[in-house]
Symmetry: C2
Subunit: 106 residues, 2 copies
């Protein structure tokens, strides 16, 4: 159940904006802070969440830290959602909208 951290990471708008920027090309922390008009610590904290969710990776370049988009988290989420869709679609392919079983009359 690691898609938990992935979904949690994606649920925040600022983090999605970070991903949108990193989708273009890698970025240093300061650049992202300027681009998003947020303080640098806020960006660092968001990047930590994204890194824990394996949505980004980081490499050291001199005294700067370059963050890059990662596929691991996206792939994990994709598999989870596709399994969900698969089950839903197969359930509908069965074309058997089983009526809600009545709650056991207590």
């Amino acid at each position: 159940m690691a898609y938990d951290s992935v979904l949690g990471a994606l649920a925040d708008g600022t983090r999605r904006r970070l991903l949108e920027h990193l989708k273009q090309h890698p970025h240093a922390v300061g650049e992202l802070a300027v681009a998003l008009r947020v303080t640098q610590p806020a960006v660092s904290q968001h990047l930590r969440v994204l890194e824990h969710a394996r949505l980004v990776q980081s490499t050291h370049h001199g005294r700067r830290r370059i963050y890059t988009l990662s596929h691991d988290g996206l792939g994990e989420l994709k598999r989870y959602l596709e399994s969900f869709w698969g089950d839903v679609l197969s359930a509908f392919a069965a074309d058997d909208p089983s009526p809600p079983d009545p709650v056991p009359a207590s």
Copy 2:
């Protein structure tokens, strides 16, 4: 940007469990409360969030309210994620890992 509510709805584990149950077949509120071992108001509140995200639909059956999985929210999220993947893949297909432009030396 309606995938915002969808991602927010999916970010909670209890709501994902609700969806897993509704994936099997429609359910009434009380059944879900018993199944998830949560109080009924909690289930109602979660279902309201899921309905607002268009992940579930509800129909009245007598004095019970039957909740069913909906495709609208899932489709919306699917489109968003696939557009994201598409961009990422095309960016990688370009095979041009443009180096991070230096932050303007202030």
